[in-house]
């Protein structure tokens, strides 16, 4: 009997003493590079939402870079520059299209930015810089088009441009350079932009429209509520255009179930039955990309142009989901998405982009000669539906 009791006791207590757990506790205000590295690694571990689909092996990054950061001195300019190259290497394959690291001004006298998605795109032979389509588009518009410029709402979009007009009398065209339409409309100090928005809304309610073109080329995004504002007139309340999910706890894979991504028209919105075409290109990102996906999901919606940028998550304050962007004291800030998105046909397009229904390759020569093939195809789409 004694043998049994002793063995039972051993079996109960021995394994308890052998639980292993490696825990990295981030410091909110790291003071040296070992602390910076630990804080960065741990916050990425808990806040990054794409670990289930990302190729980056985060544990291996810890093993590889921890000793390298341990050798750096945060007060030495050369070492800070070296840290930039380490951060760049650690994050180069991250799929998050919103991902940005910004180093604090105090350390290098400027604010260098690490942008893995843009760096990958720029390394491709097919990369082209952004192109301003509006001068060419204006040649297609009827003479009474309206155009306005105003200061933007953030440093990335410091200039807001809006162009609205008609093509052949019954096709309504709208272009806006960032998704701040609703905010612009609410701002008393943007009268020029407001007038164009009011023109768009009044023409949208015209019963004789053959079609609507929403041009999101070069639009980097902005407020997601613009979906309700711009796409709302074309849908019933609560229309599902995709699916989203977030983190619920600090584990890498602690993701909520997929939730419906919905469009809810603004109060008093009149339903528009006209077909709609969205034009987008490689620089259509974030909220503009979601708008592209939403229009593509409509029964009368068509997407013409290039693959979009591939930044379909949202940026919300860290406090909402305990995920997404974070700061590491004065040293650096990390911008990262707080949600995943899947399109209406269940495709995960982060870092990839949304595929157009009608693909039009960018043609600088044609554009410079005044031929906007994407816009012409959009007009052609409406002619087929006449």
């Amino acid at each position: 009997m004694r043998t049994v009791v002793v063995i039972l006791l051993i079996s109960v207590f021995l394994p308890c003493s052998c639980k292993e757990e490696v825990i990295v506790t981030p410091s909110p205000h790291p003071k040296d590079f070992p602390e910076v590295f630990d804080a960065f690694w741990a916050k990425m571990n808990s806040n990054y939402v794409f670990w289930d689909s990302d190729k980056t092996r985060w544990d291996e990054q810890y093993q590889k870079y921890k000793p390298l950061f341990a050798e750096l001195d945060i007060n030495q300019r050369n070492d800070v520059e070296k840290s930039l190259s380490y951060f760049t290497a650690m994050t180069k394959d991250l799929v998050d299209g919103h991902y940005l690291i910004t180093i604090g001004n105090k350390y290098l006298g400027n604010t260098p930015v690490i942008n893995p998605t843009l760096a990958r795109k720029q390394s491709l032979q097919s990369y082209r810089p952004p192109y301003d389509h509006l001068p060419t588009v204006k040649t297609y518009l009827d003479n009474d088009y309206q155009f306005a410029v105003a200061g933007g709402f953030n440093t990335n979009d410091s200039r807001f441009e809006i162009l609205c007009g008609k093509i052949e009398g019954d096709i309504l065209y709208l272009s806006f350079s960032s998704c701040y339409m609703l905010r612009m409309q609410s701002s008393a100090d943007k009268p020029g932009v407001n007038a164009v928005i009011q023109y768009f809304l009044s023409e949208l309610n015209s019963s004789s429209l053959r079609g609507v073109v929403i041009d999101l080329r070069n639009n980097h995004g902005g407020d997601i509520s613009d979906l309700n504002f711009i796409v709302g007139p074309f849908v019933e309340p609560g229309t599902v255009f995709g699916y989203s999910r977030y983190k619920y706890d600090a584990g890498r894979m602690d993701l909520t179930p997929w939730l419906d991504a919905k469009i809810n028209p603004l109060p008093g919105t009149r339903h528009v039955g006209a077909p709609v075409v969205v034009l987008a290109d490689n620089f259509t990102g974030s909220a503009a990309e979601l708008m592209t996906s939403a229009i593509q999901s409509l029964p009368g919606g068509t997407f013409i142009g290039e693959m979009t940028y591939g930044a379909t998550g949202t940026l919300t304050p860290e406090v909402l989901y305990n995920d997404g962007s974070f700061e590491m004291g004065e040293f650096m800030t990390v911008q990262t998405s707080s949600s995943q998105f899947r399109t209406f046909d269940n495709l995960f397009v982060e870092g990839i982009g949304i595929k157009p229904d009608i693909a039009i390759e960018f043609n600088l020569k044609d554009l410079n000669e005044g031929h906007d093939e994407a816009l012409e195809r959009a007009i052609g789409t409406f002619e087929n539906r006449q």
């Binding site: 706890d249 991504a261 109060p267």
Partner: protein
């Protein structure tokens, strides 16, 4: 050094063999009752979540082999829920409730500490292995992809209530092992039928997460009402 929990089982069997002077009594039974699970979550960076215990159930069949007057082996197969919830007590108020169903096989050594007429009291200890068969998650969460604009042009985020099957990820470890201890009070209704009530506590030694996430261990208490049939009389 790592000790595998399943190593406990051969140790127990060896101990029993050393003691084997069989009285050869075999009983089969059924047991069912509520289970209360406490999630032991080692947090390192989840500043706002609080985990709470949740009730579930346990139901199963058991086989008891008495090989000495006071010592027996108890095993069986159970379906047991190890439920828990995570919520944020702050102003955000997000809530998640997880209902996780395990198929579990315990192996216990029982010692009859009380044998008074028709009443018997057993204390038991041993181990268990289990397989995380399925899960459901009931969540209440703000959905930034479902916003609306009010008459004053203010933007609001809708809350989503979702109740759906839990999708396992590569971070989940679905096999669990651990230790179990318990008390069983039996009442002999006839020479072959015993009704019993039992209280068992399962302590998992297996982290349910594979990565450097907050480690998660289930600690589960189960109250059972059982009916045992003696198929091999004394």
């Amino acid at each position: 050094m790592k000790i595998q929990g399943s190593a406990i089982i051969p140790v127990l069997i060896m101990a029993l063999l050393l003691q084997s002077k069989a009285v050869c009594q075999v009983r089969i039974g059924i047991v069912a009752g509520p289970a209360l699970n406490f999630l032991d979550s080692r947090k390192f960076n989840s500043p706002t979540n609080v985990s709470s215990s949740r009730y579930g159930y346990r139901a199963g069949i058991s086989v008891q082999y008495d090989f000495r007057n006071r010592i027996s082996i108890l095993s069986g197969l159970d379906v047991i829920q190890k439920n828990y919830s995570l919520h944020r007590p702050d102003s955000i108020g997000t809530q998640f409730s997880f209902r996780n169903t395990f198929i579990q096989a315990p192996l216990l050594l029982q010692w009859k500490v009380l044998d008074a007429k028709r009443l018997s009291l057993y204390v038991s200890g041993g181990g268990f292995v289990s397989y995380w068969k399925s899960g459901r998650v009931n969540a209440q969460v703000p959905n930034t992809f479902d916003s609306y604009v009010d008459d004053k042009q203010s933007v609001h985020v809708n809350w989503e209530q979702v109740n759906t099957t839990y999708e396992f990820t590569t971070a989940d470890i679905r096999y669990e092992y651990g230790l179990v201890a318990g008390l069983t009070l039996g009442y002999e209704m006839t020479s072959r039928i015993i009704i019993s009530t039992s209280l068992q506590f399962y302590r998992s030694l297996a982290n349910l997460r594979i990565d450097q996430s907050p480690a998660r261990f289930n600690n589960t208490g189960a109250l059972g009402l059982g009916l045992t049939y003696n198929i091999k009389d004394k």
